[in-house]
Subunit: 145 residues, 2 copies
DNA sequence: TATTGTTATACTCTATAACTATA
DNA sequence: TATAGTTATAGAGTATAACAATA
C-alpha cells in the first residue's frame, strides 16, 4: 500500500473524533466494495441502482435517485449508461416519466453485484457478533437522525 | 433538499446492509462538516491536515499524508495551496524532506477548523449517550480491522 | 406551478504512472 | 534501492444552474 492506506502506527487528535472514524471506516469498506465490483465492470453507484431496480421494478429514475440520495442530474448519465449496456430498459409511465426494469443481462449483473455486496459485508462485518451488528445498525441510524 | 438528501420514506433492500448504512451516515456527516468549513474557506482535507500539523509540528508531508491516508501525490498540491495561503510553512529537515509548521494565520485557521469539527460532532453524535459513543468508536475500530 | 429528465459544468477526493533528487 | 516530493492525468461522486416537456 505504501501510501493512502490506513496508518495505525501513530495516534492523532483525530482518533477521538467519531466523524473522522466514521469517514475512515466508510472509505475502507467502500474501497473494497469498488474493487469487488470491478470484475463485473460496475461502479458502486451503478450496482446500487441495479439492486434497487431489481427490488422495485418500474420505479422511475427520480424515485430511484431519491431513495439513494443521488440527484436527478447525476442519475441521467448513470441510467443512460446502464441502458446503453442493455442492463436496464425504460418504459414510458406517463409523458415525462419512464419506469425502469432490468433486462436479463441486468438481472445477471444484479446477481453478481449482490455477490460482491455480500462478500464485502462478510469481510468487514463478519468479525462482529450479531448483537454488535445490530448495535452498529442502530447507532448509524441514530447518527443519520 | 428536493434531491440528493436522505430518503427515509421507503424501505429498500439496502437498509439491511451495514456497508450501505455506514456510507450514508458518513456522507451526511461529511456534507455538514464541509458546509461548516466553507465559512473559513477550508476543505475537509485541508482542515484535517492543519489539525494534524498543529498536533505534530515539524512532521513531513509524507508523514501527515500517511497518518491521514492521503497519498503523497495528493498531498503535494494540498500543502502547496496551504503554503500559498500562508497557513503553513516548510522548513528543510534533510535534503529531501521538509517539516511543516503552522503560521499564526494557520494556527487561527486550525482553531476555526476545530470549532467546525466540534459543532459537527455535537450535531451528529451529541444525541448519543457517552456509552453509545464509546460503543460506536469501538465498533468502527473493529470494522477497520 | 411543480415535476421529470436532460445537458453543461465545476469541485472534492482518490488513484496510477513517471520523474527528479536525495538517503 | 528506497524514500520525499512533484507533475500529469484519470475516474468516481457530488453540486448547481438552466432548459424543454409534461403534469
Amino acid at each position: 500500500m505504501a501510501d493512502g492506506g490506513a496508518n495505525r502506527g501513530e495516534s492523532s487528535p483525530l482518533d477521538e473524533l467519531l466523524g473522522y472514524q466514521l469517514r475512515r471506516a466508510s472509505s475502507a469498506v467502500m474501497a473494497d466494495f469498488a474493487q469487488g465490483l470491478a470484475r463485473v465492470e460496475l461502479k458502486p453507484s451503478e450496482a446500487t441502482v441495479l439492486l434497487l431496480i431489481e427490488n422495485q421494478p418500474h420505479a422511475t429514475q427520480s424515485e430511484i435517485g431519491r431513495a439513494l440520495g443521488i440527484k436527478r442530474a447525476n442519475m441521467a448519465p448513470l441510467v443512460a449508461s446502464l441502458e446503453k449496456r442493455q442492463l436496464v430498459e425504460r418504459a414510458p409511465v406517463d409523458g415525462r416519466s419512464q419506469g425502469l426494469t432490468l433486462t436479463e443481462l441486468g438481472a445477471e449483473a444484479a446477481r453478481e453485484a449482490r455477490g460482491a455486496v455480500e462478500a464485502n459485508e462478510v469481510k468487514f462485518f463478519g468479525r462482529l457478533s450479531l448483537p454488535q451488528r445490530e448495535q452498529l445498525a442502530t447507532l448509524l441510524a441514530a447518527v443519520r437522525g
